[in-house]
């Protein structure tokens, strides 16, 4: 990895922030629409995680893979990584966010997964990669980083 992971939180994990993320998404979707919501996610991907995006623009996807790995492990989700040719597949078997919400009887907003889908799209902009998200189950999805340009 050419750049160290920009954010490496330690200490207590306050999983209830997934509830507030869910509520915030619901509010923005209903009050301001999906386009506005996507704009917030785009800023989050490209401005907050500028370091990850800069690496991707330089053709290096490893900080993004390290970011996904660090936080899913910290939140005790389960995953596996497959690397094959020009693809890296980050397979989320048990997403800690939706699992947390459902275990507490909180209705997962229909656009909750938009955070992952849109941020992955935003991260691929202006880079040699296509970063796609495929929802494969209630708490499962696959993120694929595919190099499409040299």
């Amino acid at each position: 990895m050419s750049t160290p992971l920009r954010y490496q939180d330690t200490g207590e994990v306050h999983l209830d922030f997934h509830r507030t993320t869910n509520g915030t998404i619901a509010y923005l979707r209903q009050k301001h629409g999906a386009e506005f919501l996507d704009d917030v996610f785009r800023h989050t991907a490209q401005d907050v995680y500028r370091s990850i995006w800069d690496d991707l623009k330089q053709g290096d996807p490893e900080q993004l893979v390290a970011h996904w790995t660090y936080f899913i492990e910290r939140e005790k989700g389960t995953y596996k990584i497959e690397r094959e040719g020009n693809e890296i597949r980050f397979i989320v078997l048990q997403c800690p966010a939706t699992t947390y919400l459902r275990n507490r009887g909180i209705v997962v907003d229909p656009e909750f997964r938009r955070q992952t889908i849109t941020m992955n799209q935003a991260w691929s902009e202006g880079t040699p990669f296509e970063i796609s998200t495929k929802i494969t189950g209630e708490d499962a999805y696959v993120q694929t980083i595919r190099r499409v340009k040299l």
Partner: protein, 165 residues
């Protein structure tokens, strides 16, 4: 997935986007936060009073890795934040903190306290340094006295008290 550790940085982007669209949209969102928190805490604080608020913030200080003190002295609950993890994260952020980041705190505290019959005074001290003091009391006059001595009182629902975007 936005990690739960990074909600604050996402929240900070929400504030910026709403403020770009118009200050009224940001204030509307603060009202919504207040409404949600009244649902969550309003009756608990109304029934349990300052003691319930004290228990709540003791737990929050632990869960959210706050550096500071929560004290209940008679009729005054005092939260003294030496290092606010929320503003610290919003600032330790390649995107930078929204100028009114701190104000969202009083924006939900105020309606909760109004519902509970309590009075809160939140002295931000600075919007760019992660320390502040909040005092909560049942006594309105005492609260007014605290407000007089606050360096930078937070009054998010008084538009003139907010710096322009």
């Amino acid at each position: 997935m936005i990690p739960s550790d990074h909600f604050v940085r996402f929240y900070n982007e929400v504030f910026k986007s709403l403020d770009r669209k118009g200050r009224v949209h940001l204030v509307d969102y603060w009202h919504e936060l207040g409404r949600l928190q009244v649902t969550e805490l309003g009756d608990r604080f109304k029934t349990g009073g300052l003691e319930a608020a004290y228990e709540y913030w003791q737990r929050i200080f632990l869960e959210e890795n706050c550096e500071g003190e929560v004290k209940l002295n008679g009729d005054v609950l005092e939260l003294r934040m030496h290092k606010c993890p929320s503003l610290s994260k919003a600032m330790d952020n390649d995107a930078g903190a929204h100028g009114l980041y701190c104000d969202h705190c009083m924006a939900w505290v105020e309606p909760v306290m109004a519902h509970a019959g309590l009075h809160a005074v939140f002295d931000m001290e600075s919007r760019t340094e992660p320390h502040c003091v909040m005092r909560v009391t049942r006594d309105k006059k005492k609260a007014e006295e605290f407000a007089k001595h606050a360096k930078l009182p937070s009054t998010p629902y008084i538009p003139a008290s907010l710096p322009p975007r």
